[in-house]
């Protein structure tokens, strides 16, 4: 159904749908940490922003094509995340979350101050969707870019699904439910946590790397803590620990933002109320409600 969307939808809806897919990928990447390992990150915008700036910079200042710049930026985000995770995993619980926030704010400060590379408060603008390799230009158009995003999200989803159902994923679940016991069974839990943070940042970076050529710009808002909070809300509203839930949560967030902001400036207030309602009445999120409604085993992808 999603594959046919470009033929049926008006242009503005295509743009909104593409953005929803990008944010869905971003939220899903966070779910690896929050839902499957219970590593609460308050700074996941760092992954998105890093990916966006990296791919934006590569497209503006080098001659490599979009199809190379995007995965390269994601890879860089994953590599940087190894260092970040190395430090953050010295702590657990709230301290871990605070450290992720600290690193995101550090990146925000860099994005703001390092004007020669990041454009400072103006950000990077005019980021092109450079075609190639071999003059392959099909992904540059509006519909083409939509398909590129759809392919990236589908591949990332398949990868994450395989991951959480693998022996590696079983250890992550162990860490989520009882880290001391997992350690006592002989697993070096810290290495697992570093690995999952690196993967989550790489996929979050992929989302950001797609966003830069999608929007044509990258600015400091993409690294700001507000965005970290929003993606966490998308995960929780969608249903954490389900992979598909956060994708729905991102789409829901975007649609509600779009609709509410037509009526009121204070749309965030109303979204806050929706969020509170979910936490209290539907902690399993949108996906939890759907699976309960249609009689499938709850959290089937767990």
């Amino acid at each position: 159904m999603l594959a046919l969307a470009p033929f049926a939808l008006p242009l503005y809806a295509m743009t909104l749908l593409t953005e929803a897919l990008i944010l869905g990928l971003f939220a899903m990447s966070l779910d690896l940490m929050v839902g499957y390992t219970r590593l609460l990150s308050f700074g996941h915008a760092a992954a998105f922003g890093f990916g966006a700036y990296a791919s934006g910079w590569l497209l503006l200042h080098t001659q490599i094509s979009m199809l190379c710049a995007v995965p390269l930026a994601a890879l860089l985000a994953g590599i940087v995340a190894i260092g970040v995770a190395w430090v953050c995993t010295y702590a657990t619980g709230v301290s871990f979350s605070m450290l992720t926030l600290a690193f995101a704010q550090l990146l925000y400060a860099i994005a703001f101050k390092w004007t020669s590379v990041t454009g400072g408060s103006d950000g990077l603008a005019g980021i092109p969707r450079r075609p190639g390799p071999f003059g392959f230009a099909a992904f540059g158009s509006r519909a083409g870019f939509y398909y590129l995003t759809l392919i990236a999200l589908t591949a990332a989803f398949a990868f994450c699904r395989a991951l959480v159902h693998s022996p590696f994923g079983a250890v992550l679940r162990g860490i989520r439910e009882n880290e001391a016991k997992t350690l006592a069974l002989g697993y070096n839990t810290r290495l697992y946590k570093i690995a999952v943070v690196a993967l989550a940042y790489a996929l979050g970076g992929l989302a950001g790397a797609l966003y830069a050529p999608f929007a044509g710009f990258a600015n400091t808002e993409l690294v700001f803590w507000l965005f970290s909070g929003q993606v966490l809300i998308m995960v929780i509203v969608g249903g954490s620990g389900t992979l598909i839930g956060p994708i729905l949560g991102a789409a829901f967030f975007l649609v509600v933002e779009h609709q509410l902001s037509n009526y009121t400036e204070a749309w965030a207030l109303f979204f806050g109320l929706i969020f509170i309602a979910f936490v209290i009445f539907a902690p399993e999120g949108i996906w939890g409600l759907l699976t309960a409604r249609f009689g499938r085993a709850g959290g089937e992808t767990r």
Binding site: A162, L163, S166, P167, F168, G169, A170, V171, R173, G174, E177, N178, A180, K181, T182, L183, A184, L185, G186, Y187, N188, T189, L191, Y192, A195
Partner: protein
């Protein structure tokens, strides 16, 4: 000697929780460690498994020092433990709990693509461990909803499936009813009767200790006050004064 503790000491501020404990446990022996609350039994387990570092003294296992090794490394050397307060993965089924324990002993257990073979092997071992402890009937239920007795047995299954050279059992009958205790002791006696596993057992219930142990070490205020066969310990006057007599 499989396990040798030499002058093992752990101080918490002014409190000496474990005070110059030396003991030797031979291969195949079931050794009980008894003593009143606060005698340092659980601290001793935490020292052996690397959860806390000793202030002084050494732990040698199979002729090699364990001092300074991390918890997972010590476990990988062949030491498995259960916890005094049941430690399980409550939202996994009983089988998944044991399978995760078995997986730690598979080579390349961290794989995340093509891990089906690892699951199959670990799952098969998990099933036989569950059977050994009479848990086959509840294998597909979530660990968090099992009866307390089954949860204690499940934790033992998770330790056994790792094929440890040394098994540390921290009060396996803690909080069990009389019937559950009898069942657990019967199961344990059958498992340990073959004499090819070395066990260190912390236990409050003296009936259990005298049924299972080959030798007994008595701790009092962190220090060893007696060491010997169950009969010797039963007859020891100092032990009776510190622990067995009057109070208990």
């Amino acid at each position: 000697m499989l396990l040798e503790l030499d002058g093992l000491t752990r101080r918490f501020g002014g409190l000496v929780a474990v005070d110059r404990v030396s003991m030797k446990v031979a291969e195949g022996e079931v050794r009980a460690v008894i003593g009143p609350n606060g005698a340092g039994k659980s601290t001793l387990f935490n020292l052996i498994t690397g959860v806390i570092k000793p202030s002084d003294g050494t732990v040698r296992f199979a002729g090699e020092g364990l001092t300074g090794l991390s918890v997972p490394r010590i476990c990988q050397r062949g030491i498995a433990r259960t916890f005094q307060l049941t430690a399980l993965f409550p939202e996994m089924t009983a089988r998944e709990n044991v399978r995760l324990a078995a997986q730690a002993r598979e080579p390349r257990h961290w794989r995340f693509l093509g891990g089906g073979a690892i699951f199959a092997k670990a799952g098969k071992r998990a099933d036989s461990a569950l059977e050994l402890l009479g848990l086959t009937g509840v294998a597909d239920r979530l660990a968090g909803v099992l009866s307390h007795g089954d949860q204690r047995l499940l934790e033992i299954a998770m330790a056994l499936v790792q094929n440890p050279r040394l098994l540390l059992l921290d009060e396996p009958t803690q909080g069990l009813s009389v019937e559950e205790t009898a069942h657990a002791v019967e199961t344990l006696a059958a498992l340990l009767g073959h004499g090819n596993m070395t066990v260190l057992l912390v236990e409050h219930d003296m009936e259990v200790v005298f049924q299972l142990a080959d030798k007994i070490t008595v701790l009092h205020r962190g220090a060893v006050i007696a060491d010997g066969s169950p009969q010797t310990i039963r007859d020891d006057t100092e032990v009776q004064r510190a622990y067995l007599g009057g109070l208990s």
